[in-house]
């Protein structure tokens, strides 16, 4: 079945037939994934220990990182002081870097290609991450201005024939770790580990905002990018999430947990359930089912804290296309 059958008729699928959902679950029958939820309470909580515990629960040990280049991709969507719901918190980035460095990573990089502000250092400074990177001596790579290499669009959900990706991601990084926020998104429903990878696409080639990707379909682009990048891990900053008019203008929504996993659709589906949003209602999650991973509850093994303990309803607004 081609992409339009999954993504195009959102309305039909949302109201959806039980038969269709049943078919999708069959399509992902070969997929299984583990997702870890760990309670940290606040950004002053046990972030490093929780990440270590999560990695252990996911079967990831020192040799995953030892001697390797680890690229951490936070979500730095907007320069703003004092709004902890917008960008990945610096303490989460610091904790992830600390864990991988302690495991003997050859290097840990932080890389971002934010879509709404060309001055990366302005975004870094206002988010508080710049100070942390300086203090911890962690290199930052501006993916918006990185050299671009082109790879075939192997999934082909959008009409793009090829994708321009940053050379740092393709040639330098051995492991790609998505470090998103738990947020609603006014165009595509939610923004989590998969949508966060929009930010690896270089602005020098796709613009600010990345309208080329918007025009071929945000959901389709998310799927194509994830298939091309093949991220290794995601650690979702769900300590303070965002509800309402995300990904920028929404309001804080404390949840107090980190969510981790190696299969991004599965992690994002669990995050959606934390937000009391049905992942089958999110077009790109639905499209990822059976292609990039599982999103059905029965195909995801929850580790750590149960979803039900921390789940709370996130208010949202949604329009299924648009610019900006």
């Amino acid at each position: 079945m081609r992409r339009r059958a999954f993504l195009g008729g959102a309305g039909t699928l949302v109201t959806g037939s039980a038969a269709w959902t049943c078919q999708r679950r069959l399509n992902e029958a070969g997929w299984r994934a583990d997702v870890f939820i760990g309670e940290v309470g606040s950004y002053e909580g046990p972030l490093t220990d929780t990440i270590r515990r999560g990695l252990a629960e996911l079967g990831i040990s020192r040799d995953w990182a030892e001697g390797r280049s680890i690229l951490l991709k936070p979500n730095l969507v907007e320069p703003s002081r004092g709004a902890p719901q917008i960008n990945t918190h610096p303490n989460v980035v610091r904790a992830a870097a600390e864990v991988f460095r302690s495991w003997g990573a050859r290097e840990v990089l932080v890389a971002e290609g934010q879509g709404h502000c060309r001055d990366s250092h302005y975004v870094l400074d206002l988010s508080g991450l710049g100070e942390v990177l300086d203090h911890e001596q962690i290199e930052f790579v501006d993916l918006n201005h990185d050299d671009v290499e082109f790879v075939p669009n192997r999934l082909g959900m959008s009409r793009l024939q090829q994708l321009g990706l940053p050379r740092t991601l393709l040639r330098r990084a051995d492991r790609v770790v998505s470090l998103p926020k738990l947020k609603t998104h006014h165009w595509v429903g939610v923004t989590l580990g998969m949508k966060n990878l929009f930010g690896v696409m270089p602005g020098i080639y796709y613009g600010w905002p990345k309208n080329v990707l918007h025009q071929v379909g945000i959901s389709e682009s998310i799927l194509d990018i994830n298939a091309a990048v093949e991220p290794d891990l995601t650690i979702v900053d769900a300590v303070i999430g965002m509800e309402g008019d995300g990904p920028i203008m929404g309001t804080p929504k404390p949840v107090g947990v980190l969510v981790m996993g190696t299969n991004l659709p599965a992690v994002d589906a669990s995050c959606a359930r934390l937000m009391k949003i049905d992942p089958w209602e999110i077009p790109y999650l639905r499209g990822s089912s059976g292609r990039l991973g599982p999103i059905a509850e029965t195909h995801i093994t929850q580790r750590g804290e149960p979803i039900e303990v921390h789940a709370r309803p996130f208010q949202r607004i949604s329009v299924q296309s648009g610019v900006g």
């Binding site: 201005h145 020098i204 600010w208 008019d245 329009v319």
Partner: protein, 316 residues
């Protein structure tokens, strides 16, 4: 790992170093200027970036998109060898149009700006945004195209994208009923472009932009944003205190130097530090506008659409 040379930082660095020539005794920039080997090499490199359609590719490794073309035009005004290249680049730039979003589509209900105005996009066949429109205007006005209908509409777009409380961002004003936040870099660039207008610019809009920069720049250490911001203030003769500017620039320089991606930022700091830096973005012989005071938040709310007249800022 680094990245290959790109037009934007190269041109900005070249502008900054050329402006410095003769101002620092025995400085390395003494070797610059027409006829020097360094200049010739730089000119050759930049000319090699021009594509058959007249645009300039953004970098040595990317022949497209062509959004850096205005930089090449602005730089090329001072180099005789660029005469033909400039003309082809201007023709290409005038052929580029942002993609409007027709009224009546779903997006228009939630997007606050006028999506039908034709400005300039970052990437061909996409929507228009603030920064590429401002850069295109600066280049075209410098090429004496200030009366071209495309440029006039470009000014309208910049005015339309002004944020209600003052300043500009990348080009979204209100989305789902919520006003978005200003950013100093686009605000400086917008003010710089508006100062090039041959027509009147609503004074309250300029004052609110200046006021935003007066409030935002003193705390800013990010070089690109600070550089564009100061250039925007200089364009409206709205520098609060040159000694304060020196302090801001010093802080940003300290924060920026040594970074692998520092070239564009340091160049902008140099251009901002040098009162002559503004000349790169202006039509030759154009005087600076009258002094503009910033206004505090809450003052002069609401965009005024006024014809050229006494209440407007006349930057000529």
């Amino acid at each position: 790992m680094g990245s290959s040379p790109a037009v934007e930082p190269t041109v900005l660095a070249w502008m900054a170093l050329t402006s410095l020539k003769g101002k620092i005794p025995n400085g390395p920039e003494q070797n610059l200027g027409a006829g020097s080997p360094f200049a010739s090499f730089g000119d050759d490199w930049l000319l090699a970036r021009q594509q058959p359609d007249g645009s300039f590719g953004v970098s040595q490794s990317l022949a497209s998109p062509g959004w850096a073309t205005p930089y090449a035009i602005l730089y090329g005004r001072r180099v005789d060898r660029f005469r033909q290249a400039r003309q082809r680049a201007v023709d290409w730039l005038l052929s580029q149009k942002g993609k409007p979003i027709p009224k009546g589509r779903g997006e228009r209900a939630v997007i606050g700006h006028n999506t039908t105005l034709i400005g300039w996009p970052w990437i061909e066949e996409t929507h228009s945004w603030l920064e590429p429109t401002a850069l295109a205007i600066l280049a075209l006005v410098a090429e004496a195209k200030g009366n071209d209908p495309r440029v006039v509409e470009g000014f309208q777009l910049i005015e339309d994208r002004a944020l209600p409380a003052g300043g500009w961002n990348y080009g979204n004003t209100i989305v789902f009923g919520q006003p978005l936040r200003p950013q100093p870099g686009p605000t400086g660039l917008a003010l710089l472009a508006l100062s090039a207008s041959l027509f009147a610019t609503p004074r309250p809009m300029v004052e609110r932009g200046v006021a935003y920069l007066h409030q935002a720049l003193p705390r800013l250490l990010a070089a690109n944003s600070l550089g564009w911001g100061i250039l925007g203030l200089r364009a409206w003769n709205a520098i609060p205190d040159e000694r304060a500017i020196d302090s801001w620039l010093a802080g940003a320089y300290k924060r920026t130097s040594g970074r692998a991606d520092a070239a564009a930022g340091l160049a902008l700091l140099l251009l901002a530090a040098d009162p002559d830096g503004l000349a790169w973005f202006r039509l030759n012989g154009r005087p600076r506008p009258e002094h503009v005071e910033g206004v505090g938040k809450g003052g002069n709310q609401g965009r005024q659409s006024v014809p050229a007249g006494a209440s407007d800022v006349q930057p000529r």
